[in-house]
């Protein structure tokens, strides 16, 4: 149930750690696994905590900065998701992967399990990057 203001973990190496949902695209309801959303990067990975004006040398590899607005795909939800065969999957956190406007992932690696619904939604690139899908 990803909607406006939902905070999600970002599980790729694009540099974002925590992002906030700003918009669910193409529908007037909450986003589920495989849905595309717009997010605002709230927290960077490996960002020095010395202050807002600190150098960002540590995050040179980071492709996104705090405050960036990006597209993302939801890959895990806390909300139970029922499959057509009657099984239900539920993760302990909400997570997403940042993508560009063309739909390609910004990061090159994913760490963490993702939902198999991505296959149905034609996110095979994300699925192939993921270490595990369920």
């Amino acid at each position: 149930m990803i909607q406006l203001k939902t905070m999600l973990n970002c599980i790729d190496n694009s540099g974002a750690a925590v992002v906030e949902c700003a918009k669910v695209l193409k529908m007037k309801r909450h986003a589920k696994i495989g849905d595309r959303i717009i997010v605002v990067v709230q927290k960077q990975r490996n960002f020095s905590e010395s202050g807002p004006g600190a150098s960002v040398s540590t995050s040179a590899a980071n492709k996104v900065r705090r405050g960036d607005i990006r597209h993302a795909v939801v890959v895990r939800t806390k909300k139970k998701l029922q499959r057509p065969d009657g099984s239900v999957v539920k993760f302990d956190d909400n997570a997403c992967v940042l993508i560009n406007k063309a739909g390609e992932p910004i990061g090159t690696r994913l760490n963490g399990v993702v939902g198999t619904e991505l296959r149905k939604m034609k996110w095979s690139k994300i699925l192939s990057l993921a270490p595990m899908h369920l």
Binding site: D85, G86, S87, V89, K90, D92, A95, G112, M132, L134
Partner: protein, 223 residues
């Protein structure tokens, strides 16, 4: 009728003839839809009311009720469906309440699926609803907690195996407290891997005819 029409205008006669036939046709049409009354038979004198005799009315027995045949239709249907989906009865026994060797909440279960990748986890809830009976398994994959419900009679589920039993009987029906960090078991992958290693060893030494149904047999053998 036609003869009555003036001869000066021979065509004019057609109009009246046609009108006539049309009327006739309308009359016949309306008559056909009428229910014909029964022909009056004889004069009224014949229809003298017969003296009232206490005739017994023939009472027909009611048609056989389907409700009597199927006292508990839903139960019968459920049994039918279970017979189809679980011909050996292994799964019913594995999750029956009366079976002392049945899988209980708190056990580590392994669900083998048709699509190949099995799922293992601690069983934290068993939802007994006849054919809709499901189990809730919890595991930790790549340091993310994952919970999955499986329908035990689903054709997608090839088999359910008990990997590890809980040391002490759980005193709750649903172990949802295991979601809390304090009680979380974490990943059960190592337990499952150890179990599978012993299984493979047993299988190679034991018999070679144990094929795809090995899991089920193992479960049965435990009883």
């Amino acid at each position: 009728m036609a003869s009555l029409t003036p001869t000066l205008r021979p065509l004019a006669c057609w109009k009246s003839i046609l009108r006539h036939t049309r009327q006739q046709k309308a009359a016949t049409r309306s008559l056909t839809t009428f229910r014909k009354p029964k022909p009056f038979t004889g004069p009224i004198a014949d229809q003298v009311p017969t003296p009232h005799v206490n005739r017994k009315l023939k009472v027909l027995p009611p048609p056989p009720s389907v409700a009597a045949l199927y006292k508990e239709p839903i139960k019968d249907l459920t049994e039918d469906q279970i017979r189809v989906l679980d011909p050996t009865g292994a799964r019913t026994r594995l999750f029956s309440k009366t079976n002392t060797e049945a899988a209980k909440v708190g056990d580590v279960l392994l669900v083998r699926l048709k699509n190949g990748d099995p799922f293992a986890g601690v069983c934290i809830n068993i939802r007994r609803r006849g054919i809709d009976t499901g189990i809730l398994l919890r595991n930790e994959l790549t340091r993310v907690g994952v919970e999955m419900w499986f329908k035990i009679y689903s054709p997608n589920v090839e088999g359910v195996e008990v990997v590890q039993r809980r040391a002490k009987r759980a005193r709750r029906a649903r172990l949802t407290y295991m979601r809390k960090p304090k009680h979380d078991m974490g990943s059960v992958q190592s337990i499952v891997a150890a179990y599978q290693r012993t299984r493979v060893g047993a299988r190679t030494s034991n018999a070679n005819d144990e094929g795809k149904k090995g899991g089920k047999r193992k479960v049965k053998g435990k009883k």
